[in-house]
């Protein structure tokens, strides 16, 4: 039986080490780690989809273990230690069925079965992201560590190394602090946001290594960004609980999204729908509509939230087909009469009657599953 975990819209990783699945249509949040097995050193610090069909989630924890969560089964299936370097994970990606990890001290590692590829990308890394168009390319950036793009087939030298902007009017060096980055689809451009409240656009295809566009927003560090579905603007979140949409063609502020109480830790836009999900230290998951700036959903998730994954499912309303009436009944009906029409009719009736009951049984079963997951790793 397929688990209902597959139908969750948003997956959120918390500081207390809990992976939460949120079904926004049903307004239901489920913890996929048993409350008895919680440990703060297993706090989630990075997450990514394990495969393009979004049936697996890779969860990077504070204690350097990477766990594989299967949304089909609704539990953790594998766990492996990814040691080396220092600090917590600042990025996680998958390429050729091998995991790519990057830690704060700057060790970028590809975990292959035969041999691991290791690269030093420089200290103080804050973010590592994969290019969705070219999965062998990753970008890194951090504090006093300018943006670099690496090709994992030639990990010796970066294929693009950004240059810092010109010195300021006092002829002083401008500090570098890339907090988050993302590749623009359809071009080689990269957009980054910095701890000094700038949004920068780099273009590796042009001869200019300095940013081709710079915009500033607010006066507090920008912590997360995500491209909008049209890829012509970017949603940025700040440590002060401000979120805004910034146009990438002119570098102008388009609109602000409201409703935050604390720092935004992670932002993700839906690839097609005009929706943006964000989570942060104020323990709320919020889903805004980008077009009319409306707050569509607001879910309290009880812990400080570090990262989130939004499903790319097109049909948001897709719902778990209600588990059909118990199979034994169906068989009996089949035995009694072979009239397809009538069985369908009775089934539907049964479904409606069963509806609340079915949900109850599911809810009742959940703790059992959780126990199993806790026993697994």
């Amino acid at each position: 039986m397929a688990s209902s975990a597959r139908w969750n819209h948003v997956w959120v990783g918390s500081e207390t080490g809990i992976l939460k699945g949120v079904n926004l249509r049903r307004r239901q949040a489920t913890n996929y780690v048993a409350a008895s097995a919680l440990r703060r050193d297993e706090g989630v610090c990075a997450m990514c989809w394990g495969d393009p069909s979004e049936s697996e989630i890779l969860v990077g924890c504070l204690d350097r273990s990477v766990k594989l969560f299967s949304t089909e089964k609704g539990k953790f299936t594998e766990s492996r230690q990814c040691l080396g370097g220092e600090g917590s994970f600042c990025g996680l990606a998958v390429h050729d069925s091998s995991i790519i990890t990057c830690v704060e001290s700057g060790l970028l590692k590809v975990w292959r079965d035969a041999e691991n590829v290791e690269t030093q990308v420089g200290a103080g890394v804050c973010c590592m992201r994969q290019n969705p168009a070219q999965p062998q390319c990753v970008g890194t950036g951090g504090k006093e560590n300018a943006l670099k793009v690496w090709d994992l087939h030639q990990p010796e030298e970066p294929i693009f190394r950004a240059k810092n902007v010109r010195n300021d009017w006092l002829n002083l060096q401008v500090p570098v602090w890339e907090r988050d980055l993302q590749f623009l689809p359809g071009s080689e451009k990269i957009v980054t946001c910095t701890g000094h409240h700038q949004v920068r656009l780099y273009d590796p295809s042009s001869p200019q290594r300095r940013p081709v566009l710079e915009a500033t927003y607010g006066e507090y560090p920008l912590t997360a960004l995500s491209l909008t579905p049209a890829a012509d603007s970017v949603v940025v979140g700040s440590s002060h609980g401000d979120m805004a949409v910034i146009d990438l063609r002119q570098g102008r502020l388009v609109k602000c999204l409201k409703g935050f109480a604390g720092s935004v830790r992670s932002v993700q836009c839906h690839p097609t729908l005009p929706l943006v999900a964000s989570c942060g230290l104020d323990r709320f998951l919020r889903v805004h509509n980008i077009e009319d700036k409306r707050l569509v959903h607001k879910v309290y998730l009880k812990s400080r939230l570090n990262c989130l994954l939004l499903t790319s499912r097109e049909r948001w309303e897709d719902e778990e087909p209600e588990p059909a009436a118990p199979q034994a009944d169906v068989k009996e009906e089949e035995d009694e009469l072979w009239d397809g029409m009538e069985t369908v009719a009775t089934k539907t009736v049964l479904k409606r009657n069963m509806d609340p009951h079915v949900r109850e049984t599911q809810l009742g079963k959940r703790p059992k599953k959780q126990k199993r997951t806790s026993a697994g790793p």
């Binding site: 207390t16 809990i18 913890n31 409350a35 008895s36 919680l38 703060r40 701890g195 507090y220 560090p221 912590t223 440590s239 002060h240 609980g241 409201k258 409703g259 109480a261 604390g262 720092s263 230290l281 104020d282 323990r283 309290y300 009880k302 812990s303 400080r304």
Partner: protein
């Protein structure tokens, strides 16, 4: 003149607005919706308004009397008195209200930054300082605060940056840092930072009364460790703030001192009072205030130690967005 006056009186008397009950019905000549404020003669308008006001009061008292009589007539069977509506009991439901049985929140709280204090691994040691060049009232307030909080030390700021003070505090095993800010000799802000790794809360402080300014105060407080009362910290944010205040005071109060420090939260304002109590008999308790007293309002809660520029905020009071309802409270 006279005719005009009588007309005006008739007009007001027939008014369907506030003045209708005051007049005899035979003068009702004016359209409904007419109110006293439409009378153009100021003297007349004032006169009519006073009369209307008196009538209102009379009606109210009569109603009250009537209700009381009915209640007396019913005796024991009288329906319970309706509870008055206040902003607090009409409060908008806050989904972050902490359920004591919630395992997840319990885990979160048992492993947060205050856990070492609540597990009795650390003993509170507090540094109290001020903004640069404090003036009289602020200095005296700091002194009085240090008599309330056991094991607290007042230091002169000496123009040092907070970011430079904090590592020194950590190396000297201080567990909390209190900074009193002042504006024109009046203390108006309080930064409370838990050490070694946060969080930092920033409060606005108002209504500071020093010991000298409190009437009917008791004798100066003794050295005993006071008891702590934390009232109405119900939401998740309130719990964090409450734990922060609790961790200022040592465990195991000395009940022989009979002193209580109270942090009372009402409508997001935190009232601090310091009392001495005495049990006069089995039923009667006497209290006297020892002072100082002040009121705090939370402005922000920041993760980590003080870093106003690059720090990450857990909660900020954004009054334009959050103060949309008078019945919404955050603590």
């Amino acid at each position: 003149m006279c005719g005009l006056g009588s007309m005006a009186s008739g007009a007001a008397g027939s008014a369907a607005g506030p003045g209708d009950a005051a007049r005899a019905p035979d003068q009702a000549l004016f359209p409904p919706g007419f109110s006293v404020s439409e009378i153009k003669n100021k003297q007349r308008r004032h006169f009519m308004f006073v009369r209307w006001k008196q009538q209102q009061r009379k009606d109210k008292l009569a109603n009250k009397k009537k209700r009381k009589k009915e209640r007396e007539a019913l005796g024991d069977k009288a329906p319970p008195k309706p509870v008055p509506k206040t902003i607090e009991n009409q409060r908008v439901y806050d989904e972050t209200t902490v359920d004591p049985n919630d395992e997840e929140v319990a885990f979160d709280e048992s492993t947060d930054e205050f856990a070492p204090y609540f597990n009795r691994q650390t003993v509170p040691k507090i540094l109290i300082t001020t903004s640069d060049r404090p003036r009289g009232r602020t200095v005296r307030f700091c002194e009085q605060l240090s008599t309330i909080i056991p094991n607290s030390h007042v230091y002169y700021r000496r123009g040092l940056a907070l970011k430079r003070i904090i590592p020194q505090c950590i190396s000297r095993d201080f567990t909390d840092l209190i900074v009193i800010n002042e504006d024109r000799k009046i203390p108006n802000g309080l930064v409370l930072s838990h050490l070694p790794d946060g969080p930092t809360a920033h409060f606005r402080m108002s209504s500071v009364r020093l010991r000298k300014e409190i009437k009917r105060k008791g004798k100066a407080p003794t050295e005993h460790q006071p008891e702590v009362i934390l009232n109405n910290f119900t939401t998740r944010l309130g719990h964090s703030i409450g734990r922060m205040f609790a961790s200022l005071f040592p465990h195991d109060p000395q009940f022989i001192g009979r002193q209580v420090a109270t942090f009372h939260n009402q409508r997001d304002y935190i009232f601090f009072r310091f009392h001495r109590y005495i049990f006069r008999s089995e039923k009667k308790v006497g209290i006297q205030e020892l002072g100082p007293r002040f009121t705090l309002k939370l402005r922000s809660l920041q993760k980590g130690t003080f870093d106003s520029k690059f720090g990450e905020y857990e909660w900020i009071h954004k009054h334009r967005e959050m103060d949309t309802s008078r019945r919404k409270f955050h603590l």
